[in-house]
């Protein structure tokens, strides 16, 4: 299965899951997991940055249209799509990751680095999204709780996704 095809499947699947399952989960108003941004996280290493930006923005835009939150997800997704290459460059070993046609995963990056990578980008996305959504700086503690809990739950869902789909060990060529 080619990487392109895999990414398209993932795109459709994640947006479907996000819109029809996760958006209906509202735990106390504090937890709003946004698993869909995993598809930005899992785009292949070699994806050009402009394409990353475009795909990220388009993803956010689609989610926005489903959730009636014009611009909010698009802004957050564009931000993580822009920051993603910098984070990867920071985490990459000397000479870069060996197979740039593949996606970031515990198998290709190492579990610790991947957790850091996913955690950072999810946190950034959630900070931007919830800040824009709540937009009430008198309610900062509420906003902080919302960001923290949602980030943790999103990461938990990424972990579940990983149990289902990530490969157990690096594939040898």
């Amino acid at each position: 299965m080619s990487e392109l095809f895999k990414n398209i499947i993932r795109f459709v699947l994640l947006i479907f899951v996000q819109v029809f399952i996760l958006n209906n989960i509202m735990l106390n108003g504090w937890v709003q997991p946004y698993l869909y941004l995993l598809l930005i996280l899992l785009l292949p290493f070699q994806t050009p940055r402009w394409l990353l930006l475009m795909i990220g923005t388009a993803t956010g835009w689609i989610i926005d249209n489903f959730m009636h939150t014009p611009g909010l997800h698009a802004a957050a997704c564009a931000a993580i799509a822009y920051l993603r290459p910098f984070l990867i460059g920071m985490l990459a070993p000397q000479g870069g990751f060996e197979d740039t046609t593949r996606s970031p995963s515990p198998a290709t990056m190492g579990t610790g680095k991947f957790v850091f990578y996913a955690g950072m980008l999810v946190l950034i996305h959630h900070v931007i999204y919830f800040t824009l959504e709540v937009f009430n700086f008198q309610a900062t503690p509420y906003l902080a709780m919302k960001i923290v809990f949602s980030t943790l739950v999103t990461l938990l869902l990424i972990f579940v996704y990983g149990l289902l789909f990530f490969e157990k060990r690096p594939r040898r060529r």
Binding site: T57, G60, G71, A74, A75, A78, L132
Partner: protein, 276 residues
């Protein structure tokens, strides 16, 4: 141009990111009612503050100008303060009458200093030589005789009050025409002594005492006071009466200085008689 293209190529992703974020945020703030309201309020508030700071800074550059205009205004207002002005009374209103020969002119003046508690009391009036006041002019209030000018400067004159131990005034009993003189005994600023009235004259309470017109200072008939109490002096052919002074010296505010237009002539005639 080439550099511009290079710049765009080099920072293409950043520029693209900024453009996308701008579009997204524009969408956020234009299509979400809550965020839109917040943004409008925010921008209004901060634009207001910005303009406020701008004005605060700019006003420093105008401080000198503002100070100068304030100084000018202060000076102008100070110059309008009434207390800084001196108003010697200069009014002089005479009615020309060809059928009669005017002898006396009244010059109004404000009392600026006055005493009643000493043995020798003086009144200072705000009208001096330049306004036609000189020594030996009579001074009356609207009720009666007040004193005589003893000295005049350019804008002020010192008036010997009737309440002065050396003051002597030739008077006449209005009802009978008998003459006498009035002096102050230094006791009560509301009363004085009316002396040298022949014993033959019957004095009654409230008889009016007026000026005789013998001196050049006062015209005849000006009220001096009213008889209060008659004191008979058994060993004398004259009697003394205490009179209630017509002028309220304790609350004297305005007086009239009497100018005798024919005083020089009268004095000259009299001096010719006396001098040889």
């Amino acid at each position: 141009m080439r550099n511009l293209i290079l710049f765009i190529r080099r920072y293409f992703n950043l520029l693209l990111f900024i453009a996308i974020e701008a579009i997204c945020l524009n969408r956020v703030f234009s299509q979400n009612p809550f965020q839109q309201a917040w943004f409008l309020q925010f921008s209004e508030e901060w634009m207001g503050r910005l303009y406020q700071h701008y004005a605060d800074v700019m006003q420093y550059f105008h401080l000198k100008q503002v100070n100068e205009s304030l100084l000018a205004e202060n000076a102008r207002l100070r110059n309008q303060l009434l207390q800084d002005f001196s108003f010697p009374d200069t009014s002089r209103q005479l009615i020309r009458d060809t059928a009669h020969h005017r002898q006396y002119a009244y010059l109004p003046a404000e009392v600026v200093n006055n005493s009643i508690v000493h043995a020798s009391n003086y009144i200072t009036i705000h009208r001096g030589k330049l306004e036609g006041v000189h020594a030996h002019m009579g001074v009356v209030s609207s009720q009666g005789v007040a004193g005589v000018v003893v000295r005049a400067s350019d804008h002020y004159a010192l008036v010997m009050s009737l309440l002065h131990k050396d003051f002597r005034l030739s008077v006449r009993l209005k009802r009978t025409g008998d003459i006498g003189y009035v002096r102050w005994d230094g006791e009560d600023p509301t009363t004085a002594l009316f002396s040298d009235i022949p014993r033959s004259v019957a004095l009654y309470k409230n008889d009016t005492v007026v000026t005789s017109g013998f001196s050049v200072m006062f015209p005849p008939g000006i009220v001096v006071g009213y008889v209060e109490k008659v004191a008979h002096q058994p060993a004398s052919n004259f009697q003394v009466a205490r009179i209630r002074l017509a002028t309220p010296f304790s609350r004297l505010r305005y007086v009239y200085v009497i100018e005798n237009l024919q005083a020089p002539e009268q004095l000259q005639v009299e001096s010719n008689v006396v001098s040889p």
